[in-house]
Symmetry: C2
Subunit: 249 residues, 2 copies
Amino acid sequence: MNMDHKGQHKNAEDRGGGTLYGLGIGPGDPELITLKALKIIQSVAVIAYPAPEKGDSLARSIAAAHFPGGQTEICIRTPMTPGNFPADDVYDRYATEISGHLTAGRDVAVLCEGDPFLYGSFMYIFARLSRDHPTKVVPGVSSLGACAAASGRPLVSRNQTLSILPAPMEEQELERRLLEADAAAIMKVGRHMAKVKRVLTKLGLDKDACYVERASMAEEKVCALQDMDEDAAPYFSMVLVRRDERPEP
Amino acid sequence: MNMDHKGQHKNAEDRGGGTLYGLGIGPGDPELITLKALKIIQSVAVIAYPAPEKGDSLARSIAAAHFPGGQTEICIRTPMTPGNFPADDVYDRYATEISGHLTAGRDVAVLCEGDPFLYGSFMYIFARLSRDHPTKVVPGVSSLGACAAASGRPLVSRNQTLSILPAPMEEQELERRLLEADAAAIMKVGRHMAKVKRVLTKLGLDKDACYVERASMAEEKVCALQDMDEDAAPYFSMVLVRRDERPEP
């Protein structure tokens, strides 16, 4: 591939046409949008955002108060595959639609909850379009920082390591990785709560673990992991784990 | 400790007095400040920020354009111990100064590069004051997201794990942790560059590794790790590692 380290073909900048923006819009609180993302939202002709197959787009709800009015909107509705990932052909279709706007000279902002390159859905559009169109990625406040802030406890300090572990992984792998971790953030807990509690209890890490859901949103919830039922966690939830009660910094 | 999960003694909110804000102000680009942090910067009576023993405060330079004028400023100058951590007694002294303002009813914002609870220096103030004063932590864009954006490559996707590894750790531990990682961000590379290159080369992870320094700042630099000299990395630098060239998402 003839990519430079900005992730673009070297001549994409020279081709003219609109710019594709991958915009991190933060974890949920509309005030956790950056000045940079705000400026881009208010200047582009086209705003795209992910949404479930049915129902409202969380990304749109975070940013909508800042929409300038008159922009074209593209709601990227993505049915999930059995593996719980979006279907490839759906992204192919939306990429073609977005590419049409870019080729016609219109800038397109794709909104992304949290940070675009930390488990962000923007990467599916990025993979399809960044070779042929000028592309800029604007980092956003991630759910990681928002959950740590909500928990009221520093996540990591000094020279500790931090392991970011998606909850859907296999139980044995989760156990093995937690055994090695100084501190860990277990993401996308949702229906994997029973497994997460089981592993943390086995390792003696459950007592100090903190559960956070919908960090920074109006419905934010923070509690000790031990106080959580096994079937009550939504997809946007995280468990923060520390190896032991550390000395105050 | 009688702490709730907001990290405060339960009665701190009821005591009156000013509020202590830990403000994430992002990785360096002044436009990567959030609307929330901006609003707080413009409303508080006292703004504090970390600085080296001599020289300018990076945090102040990121946010200064937004200072309302007339605020009291506290420059937290922290000489480093031989272990490269700030001296405890220095933080004790600044905490006492900040506590005086809070007790007198003045809100104090402590600026923090990146995110306050992800290796942020705010935690030293937090540990000393959050028990006795109402405290709010505002998450910010971390250098992690900013480096990934600068690199032009998604850091992690789907159910991959991400290991955040401070470069100062022992060489054997760094090797062991990289051996297990799907993807890794090696932080605070600075004078540890030779060690980082040696370990990554040994593991065959050097060819695809990306080096980023001062992400999002005017002096941002991005290059292949292989193109970096061993003695040229500043403290604010990161190496992003992926296990192998992954299929496009």
